[in-house]
Symmetry: none
DNA sequence: CATGAATGAGCTTTCATTCAT
DNA sequence: CATGAATGAAAGCTCATTCAT
């Protein structure tokens, strides 16, 4: 214990790369806690344990800073989905894995998610960055569904596929939003519920059907 | 002289209730256009064609004003859904009508929708009002599904029903959000797409099935 | 005495026009004392006995405020020259009156002069306003000289006239600059000295000649 | 390897005096371009190709640095006047040479001139340094005139001489100021015009007289 | 000798809110 | 009832200046 205190680094004069990550961490926390406008650069600097001018020197204006947060968290989110979806699995398995990855990320990075969606969505300057991310996610999902259609040799209209992907992502976001506010909730549960709804549809659900993970 | 004053058709000295509605109209427009923080009380007073102290006298602080906007628009939204859903219709017909009512409202009150969701969702002080509204909508949908289950004499778990309702509402909100930004889009189209997805589920869609309104 | 105190207005809630003049007075004093950049809006508001937001509400940004000062003082200066120069007097009398008017203004509005020349000249955004004023003064002087040339039936090149006018104005400005820093100096003395130099030239002065006002 | 280091033609490890001149060069350029306050120490360091702490180590605070600029440029200006004025030439020739020297300097060192006059004149802390320089120049001119008076055996009052010198210097400064902004203008032209005005006076000019350099 | 890292202090500007008329 | 006048408080941003390496 004492040793750890004694060897504790001074936390001063850190190299730029390190400080930048510290600042982004702090900014994500504060933006998530307060919202973009209510968050003050002073509070962010405080949270990062550094003075305000450093934030401006390294990350630029408040807008720049926020955009950097959005991009970092967005990239992480996308990776945590793409990395778990095997390309050659059956469609339902892919969807299931994607949802689990998604909700796992949200469960683990509640602050990041709040920054991404609760804040960025509303603010015009950042909506574009976010729209780009969203489009990429939708594309991933639509691709997933598309391959399934080919496998089933049916011919769903492409527009319907995209719309379905949109609805799916929307539903997921909405549930994620709820998840971000309920720390005790289990991400996997959310994933399973959404999986059931989106895979079977309301009609099947009403008839008592239930989808089961093939691996279980 | 006096006659001209008496017959003057200006908007002065209106009864309080009318003035309040004018102010709310103006406030909804400005909040929608600028967002909560960027909207200034000056601009709202201007838009309402009235002086600032009047706004404070009638509707209280900026927070109060915003909350009044949210409540008015929320009530309207709820009414436009509930009023079209016949209690004794089949479940799919009820869902279809509900969705159409929902998207019709969003299409017709894009400003109101933007205030409700893009602003209120992000701001802690108002999130509660919004959550209450949301809960009521979810309850409506869950009730709808519940009656369908009873009709089908199956036994879906209640939690699954609620989750489904959540997912459904979430998907609807997300698509509505997109709709609010695309003035040229047709609300009924959005309703139909979401109906297909949520009623049939991804699996059926992938197999080429399509739901059709029974009335058409 | 007591009456004056008793009847002293509260200095609150003054009409806009009055407050604006108070603010301009204060701004001219502070800009003159500190220079444009060293002057803070806080100090200007203090000097005007009013809060900062009022300054912004009435006169706009710091730049706007400064420009308003320059324009007001510039207009006053020009008037105090033009108003005393009779159009049909002999050239030397006109010049003499113009110089007296000019130095009288500078003597009486030392702050205004400092604002006009010491500050505005250096700052690009305001240099234009000032250049316009200067051009008008030069034009007045050049016109004066031009009429004298016609009266003398000689043929001085126009460019030489303009250059002379420029030199004259420059010399006057420079002496005015010195005058603004020496409160005890007599403006009329300065006018007489410059009159001698510019009317007779160094050569005549060296030979002991002296110009005398015709009216004396 | 070592050889390459040894023969490296970079600018590192220069003797202090050289570095200081480089810094002053850079500072003069930046102050001239931006003005005193708008010039940042960062930009000056950048322009000098050196890091900020070096500037502080060698030349002290921003004020110190500016004062050093003013002094260097002022000295150069004075030298370029004094060096061309022969002590035993006729008065008009001396004046002519002095003016040519002055305008030649301004034409060749427009940045330096801008620093000296446009900046230093306005800033109280530096006005003193500049006043001292100005006094020395006025003294040179007054001395010139004084010797001419003695030669002419006339008896001009000394105060008039000084005032004339002042007016002359003022006119010259003003024209120089204009010259600094017009890179295409010919310094000798400016010198000739001012020579005519100041030597002959407005009256003679109006009668069509013209002064000619005796050497031409 | 030379520099990247760091900051205290200050400035302009805006805005919700309230008097006094 | 209605409004122009007025302000306290705070936010974003910059800069001269100094350590610690």
């Amino acid at each position: 214990m004492l040793a750890s205190v004694a060897s504790r680094p001074t936390f001063k004069r850190l190299p730029r790369a390190v400080r930048e990550q510290q600042m982004l961490d702090a900014a994500v926390r504060v933006f998530s806690r307060r919202g973009f406008h209510e968050a003050s650069m002073d509070e962010i600097a405080d949270e990062a344990g550094i003075s305000k001018p450093m934030v401006y020197a390294y990350l630029g204006s408040k807008d720049d800073l926020f955009r950097a947060c959005v991009n970092r968290e967005g990239t992480r989110l996308l990776e945590s989905i793409v990395s778990v979806v095997g390309d050659d699995l059956p469609a339902d398995e892919q969807l299931w894995r994607g949802l689990r990855g998604f909700f796992a990320f949200v469960g683990a990075h509640r602050d990041g998610w709040a920054v991404l969606y609760r804040q960025a969505k509303s603010r015009q300057p950042f909506a574009d960055d976010l729209a780009a991310l969203r489009t990429r996610i939708v594309a991933v999902v639509a691709g997933m569904l598309g391959r399934a259609v080919q496998a089933a040799r049916t011919s769903a209209h492409e527009q319907d596929l995209t719309a379905s992907a949109y609805a799916l992502v929307g539903a997921a976001e909405s549930i994620a939003d709820w998840l971000a506010d309920h720390p005790e909730a289990d991400p996997d549960h959310s994933a399973a519920r959404l999986m059931n709804f989106s895979w079977l549809g309301a009609r099947q659900l009403l008839q008592g059907e239930l989808w089961q993970p093939s691996s279980a």
